[in-house]
């Protein structure tokens, strides 16, 4: 547990909780190039990367695309701890990797016991989910901006109107859309 990689996520945990975590998770080794999970598989666990590195991979029309590389100290596949979820991408070991696998059933037992560790993990999951949702909303704004046809005169007002239109139109009015999500070029082009 002296490994600096473990500090990030687990920093909020006491000694007893760390021991509880180690006692209930399984360390698994993956040689470089092997798969931790595949896109579309039913998910029932999440992985904590202890050593090595993994890549999140998505296949589209048979083409492979690496979406992100994740280093030690990161949690991957958190949605696997939520009921009825599917893996949204494949995860592959980039180098020799050691992970701690946390099963949903184990996690749920901690949740039921009101364990501080479960709460800590849950908050991490919630925070990651909220960030992902905010990023996705920005992405949606970017895609939708192409079909927005604002009719104002001042660029700032057009920009604001476009954002309001997107927020209201998607029903996600309580998500902050990044103003940068709409490139000024799109707005300018619409104006002329």
């Amino acid at each position: 547990m002296k490994d600096p990689a473990l500090r990030g996520l687990l920093s909020g945990l006491g000694k007893a909780e760390l021991e509880q975590l180690l006692a209930t998770t399984r360390a698994r080794r993956f040689p470089a190039g092997t798969w931790l999970c595949r896109d579309g598989d039913p998910a029932s666990s999440c992985f904590f990367i202890a050593k090595g590195a993994v890549e999140m991979v998505k296949f589209l029309d048979g083409e492979e695309h690496v979406l992100a590389t994740l280093r030690p100290g990161t949690l991957v596949g958190q949605t696997g701890l939520v009921e009825n979820s599917l893996r949204s991408a494949s995860v592959r070991a980039k180098s020799a990797t050691v992970i701690l696998e946390i099963k949903r059933k184990t996690f749920q037992r901690f949740v039921q016991q009101g364990s501080p560790m479960a709460l800590h993990f849950q908050e991490q999951i919630a925070i990651a989910g909220i960030r992902q949702l905010r990023a996705a909303a920005d992405q949606l704004a970017l895609v939708l901006a192409r079909s927005v046809r604002p009719s104002g005169k001042q660029p700032a007002a057009v920009d604001r109107l476009a954002l309001a239109f997107i927020q209201a139109g998607t029903g996600e009015w309580d998500l902050p859309l990044d103003r940068g999500a709409i490139p000024p070029a799109v707005v300018k082009k619409r104006q002329s």
Binding site: L60, D61, H65, Q112, A118, Q122, Q132, A135, V143
Partner: protein
């Protein structure tokens, strides 16, 4: 009072005892019709459950006119994410009529972690489920919109592919070119989208 919390979709997994416990940590607030509840751009770190009345979500048009974009009714929740990750409010919320809400702030959630960990866990689970559902909805919408954009661009893509096919004068190459130009758009978008996963 419990019946309102009971009716909240986000909290449907909570037991009666947990709902009662949750209420202990919530503050009751009353607003007269037209009063400002949240102001756009101001920092926010609490969630509200409407107990009685209704809230109006408004956005300001360039001419500074308020446009109502949504109504929030009894047992609806607003701001459940900012309770966990504080963020500036994205819209202005006014009381549509005389309204009573239950408020749960970040500080109360932190206290709850110590004093009633089981309820805090249930609340965070509820937020996770709601976020997961919304994330799926937004992702589906992105995929639908992208599919539409790609379909609209197909003739153009075919032309590009045709041009490169004439250059290489091989049909197999042309087919690959079509397949390759489409996903690159997808990937750049998906990549940015999932970068935080």
């Amino acid at each position: 009072m419990i019946s309102v919390i009971r009716a909240v979709k986000v909290f449907e997994s909570l037991s009666d005892a947990e709902c009662g416990e949750l209420l202990r940590f919530m503050r009751v607030r009353q607003y007269e019709a037209g009063a400002t509840v949240f102001e756009h751009g101001k920092p926010g770190d609490s969630m509200l459950v409407v107990a009685d009345g209704a809230l109006s979500v408004v956005m300001t048009s360039p001419r500074r006119r308020n446009i109502e974009v949504a109504r929030v009714g009894v047992a609806d929740v607003v701001g459940e994410m900012s309770c966990i990750v504080p963020a500036p409010r994205c819209a202005t919320i006014l009381a549509a009529v005389r309204t009573t809400v239950y408020e749960l702030g970040r500080k109360e959630l932190t206290n709850m972690r110590q004093q009633a960990p089981a309820v805090a866990t249930a609340v965070v689970s509820a937020v996770i489920r709601s976020v997961a559902l919304r994330l799926r909805r937004v992702e589906e919408r992105i995929e639908r919109e992208l599919a539409g954009h790609l379909a609209a661009r197909l003739p153009e893509l075919r032309q590009t592919a045709g041009a490169s096919a004439r250059k290489s004068s091989r049909r197999g190459h042309a087919r690959r070119a079509t397949a390759a130009s489409a996903p690159s758009t997808w990937t750049s978008l998906l990549g940015r989208m999932r970068g935080s996963a």
